[in-house]
Structure formats: structure tokens, C-alpha cells
Assembly symmetry: C2
Homo-oligomer: 494 residues x 2
């Protein structure tokens, strides 16, 4: 079967992006590599003056994390030495020499690293259309900001999850964008709610949907493949872009089970099993080129590398590269030389082994957290759904059972939330109140004017807290959850 | 004398910047370091999983570039080894451990590096007000883009140099900003022209002036101290921000002399002489806190580091940090650990030695370029002013002397420029046509309605080419300029 080409979606570009001109200087740079021309056109410093002659890094050998070992970066016997020189001739093949990575250029990313990431992307997502590509960014936060500038103009509307990453929402608000919350349940966005909203829409439709569909922040939910398919159909029908912000994609885990004997038997054993166990992405069903996928090394290697990438159709990515040329220019060259060096040493297979190791680590952390939640949080007022991806778990609290709910708190669920938050800190554990992530925005017509069960449900009072099992050692995690349980018991007089 | 405090200039902020809210999550993060609280609030990966245990870099020893030696990064005898560990306890003092630099956080930049750069800034500029500060960026391109977003809203006007960096102008145009060109001569912006324009201004005044005041791109001009003082007074009077974009500040050189025996005797001998020889910045006369200075390591260490910084009053910088939190987040941690390591090894004095070495290198390059321009470019149609800073030289060509000027070209100077550009490439040398850098924008009232010699002069036809002596080895530079001379001679039938 031949793959289709992407649809022309240039009508969805922002005023800013449409009006951005290419620099005339670009036309001159085609002579930069012409041996017959002395190129006096660019203000580039000579690499002779770069003060880093070579870099050496100690990195884990794939032997340290293959075959179900998890991740151990400290065992000194299982280390490799990675060395990168300024001088190209001294480097191993496929390395990015420092004379190039420390120079201007390659806004779209250094070719060796892009090729590795593109091959990896195709291995995982099997992108179903022809003219897709990837470009580098300095991480998903910047990717999202640049994607917004590329598609949305002050006054436009976008679709967001009912609860979403507050920083991502604030990016949109400051730009004067209306963020319309879409109802969610334990499994993420409810497609029928989205459909009702859009079928009844009056005026210019929302330009894009922003979704953290796997290991969602803050709810910890993950969108099923079936829901992704339904939502993609809606995107096609109502002509909007899907921006899938997927930093947690490779922090997918086994389903939680209380039967501890089952836990070890469910781990994935090889690359094939691993790839099969991943929920298919929006990108993997994108036949029209209307998905912009934001991906990053922040959660799987390290956030401070500040390296991410955007996957999408070439024509749309070109507009983001033009923005990058006048903003970030390119990710750090030191980062690119080092990360590329690491990945070339590991190879595609070694990198998958690393990701399998992370899956094991996070499954274990999640299990420890959920075991503690079951044990220490009072089931009289608390319920929860164990997450299958990401860094976060949430606990729902029934606010109506708070002794002050009908009296002092005047049936205001937010007052219960606030009391539990403060009591948590007092007892020695901080979890983030769910209301801090509430999306605000106005659909047209307003959701309350539409008769639909899931739209109404979204506006019932709902108290939940977001915790993480990613950031603290396991013993501290258990102690923390126990303290949070104490706080709830004190508040609810249990 | 006690220093003054900055003026409140918050009325100059953009709509976007004024409406940007702080994240509620920030209020929680104050408990991150509280030993009594288990912090389950943030989605940070454990540094145990960062795959870089330590980094080693070979860097030049200050002995390699002290006392007028210039810069030689290849002499292997004069190298230092710089090592940075993930584990804080293994590092030398003032290093940034990888467990921190590779983690989230420190949007304003890592403290050790910021302190070094702030001390350096005060040493050079002696900032004359109290509440100034610096924040990190990923380079001046990004600093300028973020500064624009912070101060200017679609439809606003800004002041720019008559010829300016085309990429910086395009950043503004795409944002819907009107860029008003200010007349220049060989010494940069003409203050009286700026004064005339603003005194007659009708409607909302321009929010800021964007100037590359030292080693200007593309003209190579440098603004004298006297002009900077006059322009600062105008900024105060007409209430605008001065954005000084200063990547070339430390590429200041000795004045050009044709007397080769004088050249060696004019070099600076010590730190005091070096600092005295630098033209005072706008920042150094900024008593009100209305200067935003954009500074960077791109031209003095390496562009691919993607590390710059912004100097200005604290209250205004805070708005840019909020933008950075939802865009770049922070510069690369690898870059920050390495650059900080380098600078801590060198110390403030070593870094000044490095800059003195660069001054020597660039003075020599400039001399070679201008010697060749004098020798090979036909003085019948060409004139030039040798630059005293930066990477660029320009040659002015009298278009009226082109044999086709009155006939085939119909007195269109741009046709002469185009013919010379194409002939240059044909002969084997590319220099960039000046018209590619022409600022376009509309003052109110239009400049041609104001009677002022310098305003009129700016609109006379003017043909010039920008070349660089930075990017090519000296022998290739001379060959290139000779070829460009050939091209002019062919075109002008000399």
C-alpha cells in the first residue's frame, strides 16, 4: 500500500506565521560550500577560537541496563567512555565534531542526531504518510510555545483537557488565546463530549487540540487507542490540528496489580514486546498530516539537556524552523554532540534497552506508590485509579464527607481541597491540589447550554490531589504518602 | 555618591507581558527544600537516571593567551583539564554539578555562572543604579525576540537603525511591529535625526530603540560615547527603552593606521588599559534603568554554546524570566556546567586576558582586510571607513559611475548593486548587498515631510557591500577581496 501525502493545512497558520518572510541572506548561503567562491557573507567566528578542544563523558554501557536489569548508572564496571573532538578527522563515524556543533547553523538540528531520532520515531510510530519530518527544539515547553505562535492569533480558541499542565495553559492565556476545557474521565478526554461541543459550535472553530495523552499531567490518565481514533476522526471532520505533548510516552508501565507474584511475570522481555505494549500514538494514525507531536529527552535522559523535537508534516514544520531561526536558533551544540555521541554508542537497540529499563523502574515506583496509597489513605473518603503511564498518581477525595462541608465551608469543595492541602504540609507531605490545573475558557455556545451527560459531569465539584513517584526515593515516597493519609484522617475526623 | 534606583517603567510592557500570570505551582515550590516536608509536588526525574556521570574538557590555559600573545587554542602544552561530576561532593568549589545542571530549575540561569557574569558586567560597565540584575538566555537572537514580546504589542512602533540585522528586523515584522528607520552615517545613528523625528511625533510614541551600537551589523560603524549620551537623553525625554544588542562589544580594536610600524605599539598592555579603551556602553550611563543590554558568549567563546544574558532593571527582567519559564525554560545545563567550569578555572583576570587576546586577533584580521581593500578595490568608485569594532567592513560604491546607470539601469542604484553582487560571485567572491539590510517602516509624520538634512540624506541612493574578516583564514580573505576588486573593475569598465 502506498502511503498518502499530507493535506495542505496552511490555512490554519497564525497571522504571525503567515507573514514571516524568509531572510534574503539565506539565498546567499547556498554559496557557503562552493569551493570557487570566497564567502565573505557571514559573521561566523573561526572555530580556532572555540575554547573546547575535546569533550569526554562517562556513560553507561548498554550491558548495564539490558535484559530486565532496570537502570543503574553508578556501577563503575559497566561504563563506556565517549570522546568528541573539535577536529572532525579525530572523531569516530557519525559523531558531531565540536567545530560544527559549536558554530552557527543547523537550526533544524544536527543531521546525525536528527537521523537517529527520525529512525527511532519511525520504528515506534510507523508514521502512515509520506512527507513527515522532525525538527529539533529546546524541549516541549518551547515546542508548545512555538507551535502556538505558529498556529494561533490573539482571540483564537483552542481545545484543552479539562485539567491540564498549568504552565502550558498560561502560555496560551498570555497570548490572548481562549482555552476551551474538554470533559475527561479516568481515561482522559471523552470523545462524545468533544463531538457534542464541536457539532454545536457557532463561529470560527478552534484551531487545535492540545493533549498530554499518555500519563496526563495532572490526572495521570492515558487515552486509549479507541479514543485516539475517535478524536482523530473529529479533528478531520472539524479541521483542527492535534498537538500531542508526549514527554511521558516511554514511561508507560504494566497494569497495576495487587497480586505481587504477578508483577515480575508481566514485564516485557524484548524489543518487539516492548513496542507492542506501547499505546499507539496520534502520530501513528495520522494519514492527513494534522498531528504535531512534541517529544523530548527530558524525562528519559535528562531535562537539563534542553533537547526536544517536533514531528509533523514538512510544510508546517518549515514555518516553525523559520520561527526558531529568529528565536532559539538551535539547541546547544554541546548537548547535541554529547547526546548524539551517547545514542550512536548505544545504537537503536541499546536505546530501546534503556527505555525498557526505565519502564521497569517506573513500574516499580508506581507499584510502591499505589501500594502505599491503598494502605495509608482512608478508603471511606478516597478513591483512585492506578496510572499506567507517566510520573503522576492522583487521589480523589469526596468533599461532601468533610465535617465542615455543609457548615463552615458552605458546600464549597475548594475549601475542602485547601484544608487538606494545608493539613498535608502541616503533617509533612505536599501534594498539588487538582484545582490548580483547572482549564478556564468559554466555548460557543457555553457548555452548560448543551444537554450532554459528560459536559455536565465535568462541572460537578471534584477534589483531587496530584502526587508523583518520580522525584523522591522509594522510602521517602512511602513515608510521604503515609503522612498525607494522616492529614486526610485528621481533616475528615477518621 | 549613592546610586539611584530604577524608574518604574512597567507602563511600557506589552499586553502579553502584562497579562502573564505567575504559576500557582511556584508557591508550592518553596517547600521543595523544606526538610520537614516530603515534596510530591513536581514531576522531576531522579538524577540517578541521568546517563552522564562526569564530563571532562580540554581547555586553553590562561598561559596560552596572556600578555599579548593572541589566541592559540591548539598548542597542546598549554592546556588545562576541566572535570565536572554529577555528584556535588566530587567537584571543585564553584562548579555546577551535573545532578543540578541536568535537572529542571534555575530559569534565570545557574547561580555560579550568573555571579561570574554579573561581576564581569560590573567590572566593565560600572552600572550606575542599584537595582539592576542579569538573567540567562540562549543567545541574543532569543533575547531580542523575548524582549520584543515583553515590550511590544502588534501595531506598536519601534526605532531601528536605517540599516540593521535583517533577521532582527524580520522578528519584529512577523510580530506586526512597525520598524522606523533612523538615519545613520559612518558613526552610527545621527542623534539630531532621531530628535527631529520624535519632537514632531504624532500619536503613541515608539516603545523602544533597537541598536547594535558597537561594530554594527551590517555597517561596521560604532556609536561614539557622545552620541550615546545624546541618545540616552532622548530616551529619557521621550520615554522609550534602549535595547543595546552587543555581541561584538569585545571585538573592539585599535584605530586603523596605514603606518605598519605604529600597529604593534598601539596594543593594550594590561587590564586597565583594555577596559579604558572600550567605548562606554549605554548601560554604563543608565541611571534610570531604561537600558536592556543583550550580551552573549557567541562571538567571544562559541555560538553553539547558545548562552547569552540580558542586563537591565530587576522589575523588567522578572517579566522576561516569566516568559522564559514557558518557552526556553533555561539554557542547556551541559553548556552551563562547562562554561562555568571554564570561567572559574580562568577567573575574572584570565577571562579579560582572553578578551585582550581576541582584540589582538581581530585587530590583525581587520588590518589585513583593510590593507587589501585599499590595494585591490578601485578608488575611482569605491570609498570606505575602516571599522573599529566587530566582524564586518563595508565598501561604498558610487552607482552613478556605472556605465549603464543612466541608460539600461534607468538611474536605479539597486540595479548597480545587483550587477556587482552577481559579478562578484562570477569572479569568485561573495559580499552581501547593503540593501538587504534596509529597514522599512513608517514614522508619523513620514520622514520626507520633515525638513532635516540628515533625514533627507538617508533617502539618497546608496550602494554598499558588507564583508567579513572573521570567518575566513587571512590568505583566503586577501584573495577574496582581490576578486571582488576585479568584479567592480569589470562592471565599471576600469
Amino acid at each position: 500500500m502506498t502511503k498518502p501525502h499530507a493535506k495542505d493545512l496552511s490555512h490554519l497558520l497564525s497571522l504571525e506565521s503567515k507573514s514571516r518572510q524568509n531572510s534574503p541572506l539565506k539565498s546567499a548561503f547556498k554559496y557557503y560550500f562552493d569551493p570557487k567562491v570566497t564567502f565573505l557573507g557571514g559573521g561566523l567566528p573561526l572555530s580556532d577560537y572555540f575554547p573546547f578542544d575535546n569533550l569526554t563523558a562517562e556513560i553507561p554501557s548498554p550491558a548495564a541496563f539490558s535484559s530486565g536489569k532496570g537502570i543503574n548508572t553508578t556501577a563503575s564496571a559497566e561504563k563506556l567512555s565517549l570522546q568528541i573532538f573539535k577536529d572532525k578527522t579525530k572523531n569516530e563515524p557519525n559523531q558531531i565534531e565540536l567545530s560544527r556543533s559549536l558554530q552557527y547553523g543547523h537550526s533544524e538540528g544536527q543531521p546525525e542526531l536528527l537521523t537517529f531520532v527520525k529512525d527511532h520515531t519511525d520504528l515506534v510510530h510507523k508514521v502512515p504518510y509520506v512527507d513527515w519530518d522532525i525538527i529539533a527544539s529546546v524541549g516541549n515547553t518551547e515546542s508548545w510555545e512555538s507551535t502556538l505562535r505558529t498556529f494561533v492569533t490573539r482571540g483564537d480558541s483552542i481545545l484543552v483537557e479539562d485539567f491540564s499542565f498549568s504552565s502550558a495553559l498560561e502560555t496560551a492565556h498570555a497570548q490572548g488565546i481562549n482555552t476551551i476545557p474538554i470533559s475527561m474521565d479516568d481515561y482522559g478526554i471523552i470523545p462524545s463530549a468533544l463531538s457534542t461541543l464541536l457539532d454545536n459550535w457557532v463561529g470560527p472553530k478552534p484551531k487545535l487540540l492540545y493533549t498530554i495523552c499518555t500519563g496526563q499531567n495532572p490526572t495521570g490518565s492515558s487515552l486509549s487507542f479507541e479514543r485516539r481514533q475517535e478524536i482523530y476522526k473529529l479533528a478531520s471532520k472539524h479541521d483542527f490540528i492535534i498537538v500531542e505533548d508526549e514527554p511521558y510516552y516511554f514511561l508507560q508501565m504494566e497494569a497495576y496489580t495487587t497480586d505481587k507474584s504477578q508483577r515480575t511475570s508481566t514485564i516485557v522481555h524484548n524489543h518487539e514486546e516492548f513496542l507492542k505494549a506501547l499505546v499507539p500514538s496520534f502520530l501513528s494514525i495520522d494519514t492527513e498530516g494534522r498531528v504535531i507531536r512534541l517529544d523530548s529527552f527530558s524525562k528519559v535522559l535528562a531535562p537539563g539537556l534542553r533537547f526536544g523535537w517536533i514531528v509533523g508534516q514538512k510544510e508546517l514544520l518549515e514555518r516553525i524552523v523559520r520561527l526558531h531561526e529568529v528565536s532559539i536558533q538551535a539547541p546547544s551544540g554541546v548537548t547535541q554532540s554529547l547526546v548524539n555521541g551517547l545514542l550512536q554508542k548505544w545504537g537503536q537497540k541499546g536505546y530501546l534497552d534503556w527505555l525498557i529499563g526505565l519502564r521497569l523502574e517506573y513500574t516499580h515506583k508506581r507499584d510502591v506508590a499505589i501500594d502505599a496509597v491503598s494502605k495509608y489513605l482512608p478508603s471511606e473518603v478516597v478513591n483512585f485509579s492506578p496510572p499506567v503511564a507517566g510520573m503522576f498518581f492522583t487521589v480523589n477525595i469526596d468533599p461532601t464527607k468533610h465535617p465542615k462541608f455543609k457548615t463552615e465551608f458552605a458546600e464549597d469543595a475548594l475549601k475542602v481541597e485547601d484544608a487538606v492541602y494545608e493539613q498535608g504540609i502541616k503533617q509533612g507531605c505536599l501534594m498539588i491540589p487538582g484545582s490548580w490545573f483547572k482549564s478556564e475558557g468559554q466555548s460557543n455556545p457555553p457548555q452548560h447550554e448543551l444537554e450532554h451527560a459528560s459536559l455536565v459531569a465535568a462541572h460537578n465539584p471534584h477534589v483531587f490531589f496530584r502526587g508523583t513517584y518520580a522525584a523522591v526515593p522509594l522510602d521517602a515516597l512511602v513515608v510521604g504518602i503515609e503522612k498525607f493519609g494522616e492529614a486526610i484522617k485528621i481533616e475528615f475526623e477518621l
